[in-house]
């Protein structure tokens, strides 16, 4: 018998959670060497499909054929041993173990006595990671790495096992353009070795760059499959959202209106000389009401740290933060929040959502004191706010009482945004606000940022998505190694100048100015 043409064949897969039909008879066929895009709105069922396939959840119905045999994995480990290697959407490594241990988890090299061979493990880990452009001390606990670097470790780990199928659920959400390139070259290498890849992403240009075929999910059903090149971007978006082509075209794909009319007034936020040992060296940023200021820079350049220092989540050694004329004492998050600063953190899973509480409780969490009288929560007021934001941000949950931990990644992000918008902040610090959000919702979030700026809010925008950063910001402050290396204004806010400023060879004509950088 000839070997089957397909390495993986999923047929009629269904999965129902209480209140949601997450998958409804989905088919998906993969041939060796095929790079397959799996796309759909937030909550369409992409992650669920992957989890059912790899034994995290059990299907209600359907069959899976892997290398010609019926399979049903009981655990992700079983799937991995059989040859299906997965990078889940939520990085699932072990934060307290060292980077090297994480990389070799479950297949550690042993000495002849059967003990762990740490020397070899560390050496090989370092070598492997260097090919991915990650230079770190592999003996450090994983959690000391940024989210992006952690994602690269997860990638290296998934590829290092002898897999026939590699699944990547939004692998680029925290990566820099340069790392995305590394990732793509890894994918091409896998493809050439005859390994099939399933690629989930909300960034359309990435899909077109590496994927050959596509499956579109909508509300748990497969609504399209075929070659990606035969589908234009607009077609793709309209199938995904289930809206008319004309409608999508009229709305366009990016939602930023462009410049805002930042009042020529006093800044609403002034951060001066923020210094955090080993992380920030005298970073200064100011934001006027109605202005969107972008923070540019590579991974580890101090963008997240700047946002955290401003919001009081990271204690500063020196420097000051002034909000609307009043100076904050550093290191107090409640203080900063009371003054009107809201931070949407980068690491949604561990620092953002409270997974065991409901959508409703999560949205109301920060605003609770305002929604209460004499310490008692006014349920009516909570309901009002919660319903407003569920509608406004189109949060997809089976009910406001569903646990946030059960929502799809993008919807969790929307819940967090709602939490902060409910606070009516003066300054909004957005660290990767559209990470993992589908095109429809992304456009909405961007529109929202615009509207908020229009209403006089000061916004600090951090995004690895250059297009978003450039189009969304009125001004971009560029960081490198924890210090400000330049600022782009007006005409100079382009991807090109940004890249050159980061590289350190901005042309003399550009309106980049050196900002004082002390120790």
């Amino acid at each position: 018998m000839a070997p089957p043409a397909e390495v993986l064949a999923i047929r009629g897969l269904s999965k129902t959670f209480p209140g949601v039909r997450a998958l409804d008879g989905v088919d998906l066929v993969l041939r060796p060497g095929e790079v397959h895009a799996l796309i759909g709105e937030n909550g369409a069922g992409k992650s669920t499909l992957i989890k059912v396939l790899t034994g995290v959840y059990r299907p209600d119905a359907g069959t899976v054929e892997f290398q010609g045999r019926q399979v049903s994995f009981a655990t992700p480990l079983e799937a991995q041993k059989a040859g299906i290697s997965t990078i889940y959407q939520e990085v699932n490594l072990i934060p307290l173990l060292s980077v090297a241990r994480n990389l070799f988890l479950g297949r550690e090299p042993r000495t002849r006595l059967g003990l762990l061979d740490f020397a070899r493990m560390n050496r090989e880990a370092e070598e492997t990671l260097r090919t991915y452009g990650v230079r770190v001390d592999v003996r450090q606990p994983l959690r000391t790495l940024g989210v992006g670097a952690q994602q690269m470790v997860a990638l290296a780990r998934a590829v290092a096992t002898d897999a026939r199928v590699v699944i990547m659920d939004e692998p680029t959400s925290s990566l820099e353009p340069r790392e995305v390139e590394t990732l793509f070259s890894v994918i091409r290498r896998l493809r050439d070795a005859g390994i099939a890849v399933v690629y989930v992403s909300h960034r359309l240009d990435e899909l077109y760059a590496v994927c050959e075929t596509v499956t579109v999910l909508r509300d748990g059903r497969r609504v399209h499959h075929g070659r990606l090149s035969e589908l234009s971007r607009l077609d793709l978006v309209s199938t995904m959202l289930g809206r008319e082509l004309g409608e999508v075209r009229a709305e366009g794909l990016t939602k930023f209106s462009g410049d805002h009319h930042a009042a020529d007034t006093e800044p609403v936020l002034e951060a001066e000389g923020l210094t955090v040992p080993h992380k920030l060296h005298g970073v200064s940023v100011s934001i006027r009401p109605g202005e969107v200021v972008g923070l540019g820079g590579l991974l580890g350049s101090g963008r997240t740290e700047t946002a955290k220092a401003i919001s009081g989540a990271l204690p500063i050694r020196s420097g000051k933060v002034v909000v609307a004329g009043t100076s904050l004492r550093g290191g107090s998050t409640p203080g900063a929040i009371r003054a009107g600063i809201s931070l949407l953190p980068e690491d949604r899973k561990s620092e953002g959502i409270v997974p065991g509480l409901s959508v409703r409780e999560n949205i109301a969490l920060a605003a609770l004191p305002r929604l209460s009288r004499f310490g008692m929560v006014s349920e009516a007021r909570v309901d009002k706010i919660v319903n407003t934001f569920i509608e406004r941000l189109r949060i997809k949950a089976s009910s406001p009482h569903q646990k946030v931990g059960e929502l799809s990644g993008g919807n969790q992000q929307k819940v967090l945004l709602a939490r902060w918008l409910a606070m009516n902040p003066k300054v909004l610090l957005l660290d990767e606000p559209t990470r993992g959000i589908d095109v429809g919702a992304k456009a909405e979030v961007q529109k929202l940022v615009d509207e908020l700026a229009e209403d006089g809010l000061g916004v600090l925008l951090i995004s690895s998505d250059l297009e978003e950063l450039i189009e969304g910001s009125d001004r971009v402050v560029v960081l490198k190694d924890g210090a400000v290396v330049g600022e782009l204004t007006g005409e100079d806010v382009t991807e090109d100048t940004l890249m050159r400023t980061i590289a350190g060879d901005a042309p003399a004509t550009a309106a980049t100015k050196e900002v004082a950088t002390d120790g």
């Binding site: 065991g356 969490l365 920060a366």
Partner: protein
């Protein structure tokens, strides 16, 4: 064959059963024990017997209420038994000034004990089990220094607090019931309750959301200390004697058992006050049943252990698959 299609219904049902057990198992257990006792235990169905059982369980319930709050923050308070002893000593020392001043003194001591626990946990970041262990050992020591041996107390108001009643319902039961309702209200309806649960579920997220994490933790440990003191005073009032040597011995374990059996997970973020009360009642009924039928005390411990294992097993199944 179509393996993937067959192995589906069973595990899902198992998860549902476990979830049901964790939430309602304790009530079912109480109902079952009541029925069994009505059938096999002579004179079980008498007002007098119910009174006795309820009066015995009241202090456990009161301590368990505080413990439930602490466990809801992903902590534990091992010092509750010692605080009961401390309350007994302080009460005996100050009773000469009258009941009210003595009670105020007790409250102050308990609040300081709770503050010490809270400060270690919230400000210094000591693990709750370690932080409260110090007071568990030291607290009883201090109690014994203040009052080295059992002392009979002769105070009419204290005596009536311990054995008086309103239309046949002992004060002890009324107080325990009122406190349970109050704590349930705090957990469900107040800002404090919501914040407490969020902190228990994800402390980093709560911190970044600007919740007053330290203050909430401090208050939780103070409340736990105060409730333990209330239990200590009531138990002392019932005995009409202050007994810092043995009062509240192993109370921390009974309270934790009641909370866990009642469906509150040790991992924090969820609190069932009704379950906690029922958990205390369940353990009480179990003990009483075994004693009534002349089984040795070691059996009671084994039975408790079995109940705990069941509770932990049911908790494990939650939220999976």
């Amino acid at each position: 064959m179509a393996e993937a299609t067959v192995r589906t219904a069973a595990p899902l049902d198992k998860a549902r059963i476990l979830q049901w057990l964790q939430t309602y198992g304790v009530y079912a257990g109480v109902a079952l024990l009541l029925i069994v006792n009505i059938v096999i235990t002579p004179h079980f169905l008498s007002a007098e017997n119910f009174r006795t059982q309820a009066v015995q369980v009241a202090p456990v319930i009161i301590v368990a209420l505080g413990m439930a709050l602490v466990i809801g923050t992903e902590g534990v308070d091992l010092s509750v038994g010692a605080v009961m002893a401390l309350a007994a000593s302080v009460l005996a020392l100050y009773l000469g000034y009258g009941l009210l001043p003595a009670l105020i003194a007790v409250a102050l001591f308990a609040a300081v004990a709770g503050l010490a626990n809270g400060a270690l946990v919230a400000l210094l970041g000591v693990q709750p089990i370690v932080a409260t262990l110090a007071l568990m050992v030291g607290g009883r020591g201090i109690a014994l220094v203040m009052l080295p041996q059992l002392e009979d107390l002769h105070n009419p108001s204290l005596a009536s607090l311990g054995s008086g009643d309103i239309v046949g319902v002992p004060y002890l039961i009324l107080i325990a019931a009122a406190l349970a309702v109050l704590i349930a209200f705090v957990v469900r309806r107040t800002t404090f309750g919501r914040q407490l649960l969020a902190i228990g579920d994800s402390r980093p997220a709560a911190q970044l959301a600007g919740l007053p994490v330290r203050r909430v933790l401090m208050v939780v440990y103070v409340v736990s200390g105060l409730l333990a003191a209330v239990a200590g005073v009531l138990a002392t009032a019932r005995l009409q004697a202050s007994d810092p040597t043995s009062l509240g011995n192993l109370m921390e374990l009974s309270a934790i058992t009641a909370v866990v059996v009642g469906g509150t997970p040790l991992t924090g973020g969820r609190i069932s006050i009704g379950g906690t009360v029922a958990g205390a009642v369940l353990i009480q009924l179990l003990t009483a049943t075994l004693i009534k039928h002349d089984l040795p005390p070691s059996w009671t411990q084994i039975a408790q252990a079995i109940v705990i294992v069941c509770a932990v097993y049911a908790a494990r199944g939650r939220g999976k698959r």
